[in-house]
Each structure stands twice: as structure tokens, then as C-alpha cells.
């Protein structure tokens, strides 16, 4: 029972959602309820996860584990943000500016770092992967699209060149569509496995 009940709930929910999407006008009220439950559950899961994270870092501080100073920073930042939002409210522009002033440079610098790392990886790609059909085509397409992204060729306004560039820009369509079809079918089959209680990655 302990194992079958969650599977049963998952199956019933999946079947209901599928049925509600087809028989929409009739089941709209119930669909709203089920979707609300799902959103509340997901939010509660986030709260649980955050609580676990905080407890883990609290334990690290209490035990004086190596690197506990980072745990102190994490918990302090969390408390300041949390209490700030509670006291000032999410509409408070000062609070929003304060959060932005912390988060924006942090995330931007991480992205900048990713750009630098990408430069290094570009140098290494052929060394690490060697010559193969995949790497050669990867290298050629990377070069072609980097050149197109510069926008210099387009600025020349040569009709023939523009046609060639327009054709090249449509080339990713083929690969992307293939990948998306594959991912779509994969997601569909995963959904069906959930629907019939076959997918139990989270079980046991």
C-alpha cells in the first residue's frame, strides 16, 4: 500500500489531466482544483528543500566544519532577503534595487566567466575530441555562424550574399527539428509511462 498509493495518485492525476484537456468545458472546475494542488505541492516542495538546505548549513556551522564561513554567509544572505521582503514588501523599489545590486553583478560575472571559459574550450575542442566527422562539422558550423553573427557580411548588402546567408541561417532547422522531434517523442513516452505507473524513478 505504501508503494502503490503514490503510483495510484500519479496515475489518476495523469489520466484526469489528459481527460480534462479533451473534455475541457465540462471538467474545467476540477482541472483548476487539480492544477492548484499541483502548484501548491511544488511550492511546498521548494519550502522543504530550502529548509533542508538551511538545516544542512546550520549543522555545518554548529559543528564547525571546514568552510563553515560560507554557510554563515549563505544563511545571513537568506535571512536578510527573507526578512527584507517580509518587512518592506515585494513592491518596495528600494528592496528590489538592493536585490538587483547583489544579483546582477554576480550573475553577469558568472556569464562573463563562461565566455572566457568558452574561449579556452574552443582552443581545446579538437585536441580533446580529435578529428571526426562530428568535430569537423562542428568546427565548420561554429566558424560559419560566428562570421554570420558578426553582421559584417550582411552590412555589405550584396543580394547574392544575402541569399546565401539567408539559406545558411535556415540550416539549423534540420538538426534542431530532428532533435526536437526526438525529445518530444521521448517526453511523450515518459508521460505515458507515468500515466500507466511504469515510471517510478522517484519510487522505492
Amino acid at each position: 500500500m505504501k508503494k502503490t498509493l503514490p503510483i495510484l495518485v500519479a496515475v489518476l492525476t495523469a489520466v484526469f489531466i489528459l481527460a480534462a484537456l479533451i473534455l475541457r468545458p465540462q471538467l474545467n472546475g476540477w482541472l483548476d482544483v487539480v492544477l492548484n494542488w499541483a502548484v501548491v505541492t511544488a511550492s511546498a516542495a521548494l519550502l522543504v528543500a530550502v529548509a533542508t538546505l538551511l538545516l544542512t548549513h546550520l549543522r555545518a556551522i554548529l559543528r564547525g566544519q571546514r568552510g563553515f564561513i560560507y554557510s554563515i554567509i549563505l544563511i545571513s544572505a537568506f535571512l536578510v532577503s527573507f526578512i527584507g521582503a517580509l518587512v518592506l514588501g515585494l513592491e518596495n523599489s528600494a528592496y528590489l534595487r538592493w536585490v538587483a545590486a547583489v544579483q546582477l553583478p554576480l550573475e553577469t560575472s558568472l556569464l562573463g566567466l563562461a565566455a572566457l571559459v568558452m574561449t579556452g574550450a574552443a582552443l581545446q575542442i579538437f585536441r580533446s575530441r580529435g578529428w571526426s566527422l562530428l568535430t569537423i562539422s562542428f568546427g565548420i558550423s561554429a566558424l560559419v555562424f560566428l562570421v554570420i553573427s558578426l553582421g559584417l557580411l550582411q552590412a555589405l548588402n550584396i543580394p547574392l550574399l544575402s541569399t546565401v546567408i539567408a539559406y545558411l541561417q535556415r540550416l539549423p532547422l534540420i538538426g534542431a527539428r530532428g532533435l526536437l522531434i526526438g525529445i518530444g517523442i521521448g517526453a511523450l513516452l515518459t508521460g505515458l509511462r507515468v500515466l500507466f505507473g511504469l515510471e517510478r524513478s522517484w519510487g522505492e
Partner: protein
């Protein structure tokens, strides 16, 4: 390779589960003889009388010089075991107590139910029921004593040789001589290895090599205990013996000694082998004996000691075990390419170069002129969709990008929002990310439009689905002020992530009319969006700062200065240069490698 007992296909020796049929392979570190008895109890269930009967048969056959073909292998062992309980007469059964009869019956009915104790007891009872019980016991005791005496003698010899500096007969230790006696072919290779002392060996590899050698030596010494007490004990005793450490000679692994090399043609049998063979057969190690016949018997007719019959499987298993123990706690080999010690310098130089170029461009190069050329088709389609909007139309602006992408996204979106605001189109802001609450304020500032509240839609994908399906039902989940999505002439998605774009296309798209979704995206999403546009699921899209500038110009706006275009282009140029450099370096390395090989060839 080991074979799966279920499907019969080959697996790696380390595998614990068959890669073909998925069933467990529990026979790691088992001895071949024991494998044959997989379904049998842990200790070989052989009565003493059977053992001696076989012994006597062997002696008789030796006397006749024409030994009859004795059935060997596991089948013979099974047969003898099955015969044992049947040998009991009805009278003896009557004499046995009732509880014993019950145990016997149960053991006969279900083999697994017969515990180890009861099986031993049964076998003991069976042996005692024989006519010549006393003589049997005496012979067995003599045999055991003889084997033990042999073992003691060998141990003493080994200890003596160790005390004497492990050297005899030209510096060759006793144990090595015995191994050489066994494997004369491997000897030559081995000597060749030993005769190269010029290159001092690293300490660690030496220690690692010692382990298998010790295991080998220990196995040699314990071979008799295999004979005495079955294969399981042999596994237990496969650990290196303490006295083996004094050998001090270059070690020999199974491979080095040529244990796996096929033997010379028609090997002759050593005189002692017939004595041991039936005993090993009886203990379920018959298959090992046949393996020895094929692989480990010496080409010469020199004498073989029973304790030197190293079983190949055992040796391999012990080797694996020793390697695993030796590797415990050590780091793994690198992923694909070996790590170089001084690899960080080029990263630093590249990074510094990129930064210098970007800074130089930002400081010294003037801003780019507004682009006048035509965008790709999807961006043109978006421009048309935006131009088709009339005064009073509602547009839902969905802001779903991360702070890191805000510079690029603001450059793309701000001119569009400004153009829409100037044309009197009602803009409503929505976000499904908590980040969006404060990023939208920055965006409105960048677009120079009046600040307004940004609604937060909780639930991500489910929230989008609810908004698409149930906006009319006044769902508690939907934020105040959000109308039915069908009421908006355009839903303009500001995105930097494939997942969020797909959320809207997959969850809301099917319920909205065609041409309702337009996307302003970061450049890396261009390839993803193309199939959706091609399928008619999007009204159009613009990806990246470059297309954004062209779109802004087409809408009569000037692009924001958040991300200097020249610096962006310079960054792309550096990337192109580095990619080409990578190709050149690889090509040169390959060329060098070829040149180095050619003279050798």
C-alpha cells in the same frame, strides 16, 4: 572475460551484472571448480568413503598401468553424492532415530532446506554406515597427515630459503625456481625482464607488482589447503602471507610468468599428478585439472609439486582483488585527455587577451552606425506582427530571463517596448520567475516607459497552462489583472532559456490562435526557435543583439547602449581566431606525430 551463467554471453571480469541479460553475476573471485557446483552447499559434501574408494581405484589402475577411463568432472562428483544416501539399507534406517529420519527426508525433498549442519551430519552418518568404518577413518587420517606433512615440509623449505637471503642457485629464490619449473616458457621472458636493472623502477609500481607476486606465493603455499578444505578457503587465504614478504625478488604476476601462454604440444604427465588428480576431481575441481592440463603443465617431464598447481582463475581473481585493494583511495585517471601540469597559463593568456581586446574596443572604437540591412525572415515576421498592432491593442509582455542575460535582453527588448508604448499599445507585464519582479523595473527604465506593476504567475508550466485554459474561470492561482490570454493581440516573450520558451509554446500555444506568440530571445536560442516558427507556432522572433538592433532601426528606434555592439563583434572575432588557432595547433601536433613516426618506421 567471464561468461554469464544465465545467457552464456561474455562479460568483463569486473562485472557484477550481465550486460546482456541484466542478471547478477555472483561468481567473481570464484574458482572454476566451485562454479560447477554453484547450486551446491558451501563445503564440498563428499563422504570419506567415496574419497577413499576413488583413491583405491586410482592405485589399482596405476598398478595395472592401463588406467580405465574414470569419469571425471562434476558429473562424477554429483553421481557419487547421489549414491551415498542410497547406499543406506532399510535396516539402518529403522535403527536411526525418528528425528533424524525426518531431517533426512526434508533434506531429500528440498536441497536448500538441508542446512550445512544437517548435510555434514548426513554425510558423516552415511560414511559411518559403511562396513569398514574403522579402516576408512584410519586411511583418511593417514591421508590428511600425509598432506599436512607435505605442507609443513614446503613451509619449512620456504622459510629456510627466505632466511638465506632468498637466494640460492645463482641468486634465484626457491619459489621462483619452482615457478620456473612449472612454466619454462614464461621463464625466458621473465629473465629478460629481470636482466634490465639499468632503469631504476619507481617505488610505487614496484610495490604494486609485489602484491600479485605475494598472492601467487601464498597461493602456492595454500594449494594444499585447497585440496584439503575446498575452494572457499582458498579464496580466504589468497591474502599475502607474512613470510612471503622476505622474498625480496622482482615479483612475477600471472601474465609475466606466461601463465596464459599455451603450453608446448603433448605435455607429459608428471608422476605425482595421477595421485592428486582424483582427489581434486572428488573435490569438485576436476575442471581446474583439465584447465591445468591445457595451460599450466610444463613441457618437460620434470616433477610437479602439488602445492605449485596454481589455478589460473584463482590467480586472475587474486590479481584483480589485489589491484583493487592497492588502488583504494587513489585518484581516478583523467577523463579523456591527460591533464597537463602547466595547463593554466594558456587560459590566463587567452582570458587576458579577450578582456584586453574588449576593453580596447569599448574605449577606443566609436559606436556602430544603425544597421540598414534586412533581418532574417523570422525577425521580419515579428516586425510585421508588431507593426500590425493598433492603438489600444493589448500586448502581454512576459519577462522570463535571468539577470545575467539582462544586458543583452534589454538591448533587444527596450526599443521594441518603447516603440509599442509610443504607438499607444497597452502593455501588461507578467513574469513566472521571481527574478522578473525586479528585472522588469530595470527594463522599464531602459525602455524609458512609465513604470507599472509586474504580475507574478506562480507554478511555472502549470501556471502557464492555467492561464491559457482557465483565465476566464477566475482561478485563484492567476494574478489579479491578468485577462484571458486570447484577449491579448500579442504575447511577447522575453526569453533567454529554451525551457521557458517551450513552456509557452507547448502549454499555452495549442490553446491560442495562430500568430499570438512572438519572441525576443538571446542569441543562443535562434536555432531552437526556427522549427517552431517554421511550423507556424510563432508569429516571429528576434534572437540576439545584432538582430535586435536591426529590428529597432526598422521600428524607428535607436538601440540601447547597454551592450556595445563593437565590443560584441570584437568578442566574436576573438572566438573565431581562437577556434582557428585550435585547428592549427591540432593539425600541427598531428603532423609532428606523423613525422616522428616515419623515421622510426
Amino acid at each position: 572475460m567471464i561468461q554469464c551463467p544465465h545467457c552464456g554471453k561474455d562479460n568483463l571480469p569486473q562485472a557484477t551484472r550481465c550486460v546482456h541479460c541484466g542478471k547478477d553475476l555472483d561468481n567473481l573471485f570464484k574458482i572454476e571448480g566451485a562454479e560447477a557446483d554453484a547450486g551446491l552447499p558451501e563445503e564440498p559434501e563428499i563422504s570419506v568413503s567415496d574419497l577413499l574408494r576413488t583413491f583405491r581405484q586410482e592405485e589399482d589402475s596405476q598398478a595395472e598401468e592401463h588406467r580405465p577411463a574414470v569419469s571425471s568432472g562434476p558429473s562424477a562428483v554429483f553421481a557419487s553424492r547421489e549414491d551415498t544416501p542410497r547406499a543406506e539399507t532399510p535396516q539402518e534406517e529403522e535403527q536411526a532415530p525418528e528425528w533424524l529420519i525426518r531431517i533426512r527426508k526434508r533434506a531429500m525433498q528440498e536441497e536448500d532446506a538441508a542446512g550445512e549442519l544437517s548435510r555434514k551430519f548426513n554425510s558423516l552418518e552415511a560414511s559411518r554406515s559403511q562396513e569398514h568404518q574403522g579402516r576408512v577413518d584410519e586411511e583418511f587420517a593417514n591421508w590428511i597427515a600425509r598432506i599436512r606433512e607435505n605442507a609443513r615440509r614446503e613451509n619449512l623449505q620456504a622459510a629456510k630459503s627466505a632466511q638465506a637471503g632468498s637466494e640460492s642457485e645463482g641468486g634465484v629464490p626457491e619459489w621462483l625456481r619452482r615457478v620456473r619449473e612449472l612454466q619454462p616458457e614464461g621463464l625466458e621472458e621473465n629473465q629478460a625482464v629481470q636482466e634490465e636493472p639499468e632503469e631504476p623502477r619507481a617505488e610505487e609500481p614496484e610495490q604494486e607488482k609485489e602484491l600479485p607476486a605475494k598472492a601467487e606465493q601464498a597461493q602456492a603455499q595454500e594449494a594444499e589447503s585447497v585440496v584439503e578444505s575446498g575452494p572457499e578457503e582458498a579464496i580466504e587465504t589468497a591474502e599475502p602471507a607474512p613470510d612471503a614478504e622476505g622474498a625480496g625478488e622482482p615479483p612475477l604476476s600471472g601474465h609475466e610468468t606466461g601463465a596464459e601462454t599455451p603450453p608446448a604440444e603433448e605435455p607429459t604427465e608428471s608422476p605425482k599428478t595421477p595421485e592428486i588428480k582424483p582427489v581434486i576431481e572428488e573435490l569438485g575441481l576436476a575442471s581446474e585439472v583439465s584447465a591445468l592440463d591445457l595451460e599450466e603443465r610444463p613441457a618437460s617431464s620434470e616433477t610437479l609439486s602439488a602445492d605449485l598447481l596454481l589455478l589460473r582463475k584463482q590467480k586472475e581473481s587474486a590479481q584483480i582483488l589485489m589491484n583493487l585493494i592497492g588502488e583504494e583511495g587513489k585518484g581516478l585517471p583523467p577523463a579523456k585527455t591527460p591533464r597537463e601540469g602547466s595547463r593554466g597559463w594558456y587560459r590566463f593568456i587567452l582570458g587576458a587577451f579577450l578582456l584586453l581586446v574588449l576593453i580596447a574596443v569599448i574605449v577606443f572604437v566609436p559606436q556602430a552606425r544603425p544597421a540598414t540591412y534586412e533581418n532574417p525572415t523570422p525577425a521580419v515576421a515579428l516586425k510585421d506582427a508588431l507593426n500590425a498592432l493598433k492603438n489600444g491593442d493589448k500586448v502581454l509582455v512576459v519577462q522570463e530571463y535571468q539577470a545575467a542575460a539582462s544586458a543583452e535582453m534589454e538591448q533587444v527588448s527596450a526599443p521594441v517596448l518603447r516603440a509599442l508604448e509610443e504607438r499607444g499599445i497597452a502593455l501588461q507585464f507578467l513574469t513566472t520567475h521571481p527574478n522578473g519582479l525586479w528585472l522588469s523595473a530595470n527594463l522599464m527604465n531602459a525602455a524609458e516607459i512609465p513604470a507599472r506593476e509586474t504580475a507574478y504567475l506562480a507554478g511555472g508550466r502549470l501556471g502557464v497552462l492555467t492561464a491559457a485554459l482557465l483565465a476566464d474561470e477566475s482561478s485563484a492561482m492567476l494574478p489579479e489583472g491578468l485577462e484571458s490570454l486570447e484577449n491579448y493581440q500579442l504575447i511577447l516573450l522575453l526569453e533567454d532559456s529554451q525551457a521557458d520558451i517551450q513552456n509557452w509554446i507547448e502549454q499555452a500555444g495549442p490553446w491560442l490562435g495562430a500568430g499570438k506568440l512572438g519572441v525576443l530571445a538571446s542569441s543562443q536560442n535562434a536555432a531552437l526557435l526556427l522549427p517552431y516558427y517554421d511550423a507556424g507556432q510563432l508569429a516571429g522572433y528576434t534572437a540576439g543583439a545584432l538582430e535586435g538592433r536591426v529590428l529597432a532601426a526598422a521600428l524607428g528606434q535607436t538601440a540601447s547602449t547597454g551592450m556595445p555592439l563593437r565590443a560584441y563583434q570584437a568578442g566574436l572575432l576573438v572566438m573565431i581566431a581562437v577556434l582557428l588557432l585550435g585547428i592549427i595547433i591540432k593539425a600541427e601536433a598531428d603532423s609532428n606525430a606523423r613525422h616522428q613516426k616515419e623515421p622510426e618506421g
